[in-house]
């Protein structure tokens, strides 16, 4: 029997608590590799990893690529600007063509919700969701869980607040699902226009005012405000957002003393988060990036490692 009984990683929904713990434990042992002088092990030698990115990404794509390379897999990158998409090829056709070259896993980022699910049905290789529309970003949530567990020693019972545009954030969606599975006490915060209908069904609290929401929390997770994507009907603008919802040092003082501050990046300095907070001792933002590599090594290993494929 395999350790990890999944062909794909599409959503946090599909993972059991044991699955999540397995991924986090595995990442812990992989993390050490990145600190070595020779940052490479032969684990995935001969395996092929495709990065198929239909949306711009620096962090996630390079994190996956570094993770794959440190495990000795062959990687190649396709983005929508250099693929046949601009020639009108459909997603399924692209998938079938990649399939014909027999990759082991396709890492897909796409602006359409459900695109990785569609790809997973069409191809026999594994598919990893690297962010789909406004739906999910499971590997980001897993690296966040890993970071919290590393810093706090546990997740169960922790008080965690997620602040920002919850409606359009796939990071928030995956984190809510993961944190609830592991027993955290989750609060979301942000203007009412950015908190979706039915979010309370996940058993979380909604406190719109960020100062109130931060009070007595162990973890403060900020989201990137994507004004470039939104109509000005959703919110008046950056200035108004920064003034009423931006998180400052003063607000952080309301949290528990040892609270950590997280952000999936890229940050709008001075909008959702004040610069002084980003660079404060409680900030674990760069740790998140570092842990991202370890988590993705663990996921790649669990999905395509070994010979049972």
């Amino acid at each position: 029997m395999r350790l990890f009984e999944h062909k794909d990683l599409l959503s946090i929904d599909q993972l059991s608590i044991a699955d999540i713990e397995l991924i986090l434990d595995m990442a812990e042992s992989f993390k050490e590799i990145s600190n070595r002088d020779i940052k490479k092990v032969p684990t995935l030698r001969g395996k092929t990893v495709v990065n198929l990115f239909y949306e711009p990404s620096t962090r996630t794509r390079s994190s996956f690529e570094i993770a794959a390379k440190r495990l000795s897999a062959d990687t190649f990158n396709l983005s929508s600007s250099n693929s046949s998409t601009i020639k009108g090829e459909t997603l399924i056709d692209t998938g079938m063509n990649l399939q014909a070259m027999n990759p082991d896993v396709i890492i897909l980022r796409h602006s359409s919700t459900g695109a990785p699910h569609m790809m997973a049905k069409a191809v026999s290789s594994g598919v990893i969701n690297a962010g789909d529309g406004i739906n999910e970003h499971p590997t980001q949530a897993l690296l966040d869980l890993f970071t919290i567990r590393e810093k706090k020693g546990r997740i169960e019972g922790l008080k965690i607040v997620i602040i920002g545009d919850i409606s359009h954030s796939r990071v928030a969606k995956s984190n809510i699902k993961g944190l609830k599975k592991l027993g955290a006490d989750v609060t979301v915060s942000g203007p009412p226009t950015m908190v979706p209908i039915g979010i309370e069904n996940y058993g979380i609290n909604v406190i719109h005012n960020p100062s109130e929401a931060i009070r007595k929390k162990d973890v403060i997770m900020l989201l990137r405000i994507q004004f470039e994507r939104q109509s000005n009907i959703l919110f008046p603008g950056i200035r108004e957002y920064a003034k009423y919802f931006g998180v400052t040092r003063k607000m952080i003082e309301l949290a528990n003393d040892d609270a950590i501050i997280m952000h999936p990046g890229p940050i709008n300095r001075g909008v959702e988060l004040a610069s002084e907070v980003i660079d404060s001792p409680g900030s674990v933002i760069l740790e998140q990036v570092k842990n991202g590599v370890a988590i993705r090594m663990a996921i790649l290993y669990l999905l395509i490692g070994g010979s049972s494929k």
């Binding site: 919700t113 979706p196 209908i197 979010i199």
Partner: protein, 428 residues
């Protein structure tokens, strides 16, 4: 030529009864309904006997909301293929929406559709023309001329009339010409970018939502327009509990409003979208279980007058893509009957009432013949087996497009024979 349909149970949409009787058809007209003396066969050699023991005989179904895609999108459906799908599903008359390419906003296109329908020779085709030229919502089409050409109604289906003045003038002018005005009620400023109902499911699966108020605001507006102008308005594809409530109040106030819903709105709810099957994507979207219940109650209480399919064929080119990029709409001509019979079995409405909403009521709303079986009327009818159970298979679908969420699902009730003007046009 005499046809004798023997021992069937006849659904009387007018009296709301089912009675076991024979039907005698002379040429194209029903000549008698009752117990026909059996010596008839000896007296006349040229009697065709159809044994309908255990079957239901219903008036030919009438679908007041169909997209036939011709002219312009013949790869999705043609007037011929759509007519065949219709008669196989028990429909003898269908009204086709004008959002073709070119759109049906003038006499030439209306006449083309009628001519193609006649040469196809299956279902009777009744064109619905545009309210506004090019469906741009700016100027009225020539209602008089298109009515003379054979159109029975006007609608900018798919492209709702946002301009309230235009809608007001359209009701007034359509009423003068005796054209039914059909409102696709949607405030597009509220639904832009949305691909499914806005609610707990859209949040859970990460798709952009379409709020129920996008429909209800326009249903309210059009009922207020009908009240003000004292002209009738018909609300297409009602999908929300709020719309049912608003229509109910309109009817109670004596406003000339009628309404239709589609089988998917009383069969499926937004939970069906989980899994991102683009055949669960339509406009209006599948709503909540509470909305589904309200639609059923609206049918039972007579708030919703008609069941129409909103048959919307799309090929794999439009449907086998990312969910948010997929076209809205599903086919419905071949599943409307079993899905409606399920409502009857569930005790929501009686069988005659269900068939009435699929025939007589839409006929009355559009001002076209059909919907009842009486001596002296044309023999447009269907013989159905209400107990036949089957799994819907893609390869059995006759429509050119196969975009149905009911493929692979168990259905009960099937049309066995369709007759138009005394002629068998389709037989299983």
């Amino acid at each position: 030529m005499i046809t004798w349909i023997r021992s069937g149970s006849i659904v009387d949409t007018l009296k709301g009864l089912i009675r076991k009787a024979d039907i005698l058809i002379k040429d194209d007209i029903i000549s008698a309904i009752g117990i026909i003396p059996s010596e008839l066969k000896q007296k006349n050699q040229r009697v065709k006997i159809i044994d309908a023991e255990g079957m239901l005989i219903i008036p030919g179904l009438i679908d007041m909301h169909v997209h036939l895609r011709e002219p312009g999108h013949e790869y999705k459906e043609t007037i011929l293929s759509g007519s065949i799908a219709a008669v196989s599903g028990g429909f003898t008359s269908i009204a086709c929406m004008p959002n073709t390419d070119p759109v049906n906003d003038n006499r030439a296109v209306t006449e083309f559709i009628i001519r193609r329908g006649k040469s196809a020779g299956f279902a009777k085709i009744y064109p619905i023309a545009c309210i506004s030229k090019k469906q741009e919502g700016k100027t009225l089409t020539e209602f008089g001329d298109i009515k003379d050409a054979g159109a029975v109604g006007v609608s900018d289906d798919g492209m709702p009339v946002i301009n309230s003045e235009l809608m007001r003038r359209a009701t007034e002018y359509a009423s003068y010409h005796g054209l039914t005005i059909i409102s696709h009620s949607e405030d597009t400023s509220l639904s832009r970018g949305g691909v499914m109902n806005e609610g707990d499911i859209s949040t859970a699966i990460g798709l952009t939502g379409i709020p129920s108020i996008n429909e209800e605001i326009m249903v309210s507006r059009d009922i207020l327009i009908a009240k003000f102008t004292k002209c009738p308005v018909h609300i297409a594809h009602v999908s929300t509990a709020g719309s049912v409530e608003i229509i109910k109040r309109g009817k109670e106030a004596g406003i000339l409003v009628t309404a239709e819903t589609a089988p998917h709105y009383f069969t499926l709810d937004h939970r069906a979208v989980t899994g991102y099957d683009s055949n669960t994507k339509m406009n209006p979207p599948l709503r909540t279980p509470e909305d589904v219940l309200a639609i059923k109650n609206g049918l039972a209480d007579g708030i919703i007058d008609a069941i129409a399919t909103d048959h919307a064929p799309h090929s794999t080119l439009e449907k086998d893509v990312e969910f948010d990029k997929a076209a809205f709409g599903i086919i419905g001509l071949e599943t409307a009957l079993p899905l409606t019979l399920a409502l009857v079995r569930a005790g929501v409405i009686s069988l005659p009432e269900a068939i009435k909403k699929l025939s007589l009521n839409p006929a009355r709303i559009l001002g076209i013949p059909g919907g009842q079986l009486e001596p002296g009327l044309p023999a447009d009818l269907a013989i159905i087996n209400p107990d036949y159970e089957y799994i819907l298979k893609k390869e059995d679908i006759l429509s050119k497009s196969k975009n149905s969420p009911f493929i692979g699902k168990a259905l009960k009730g099937r049309n066995e024979l369709t007759m138009i003007g005394g002629k068998i046009v389709w037989e299983r």
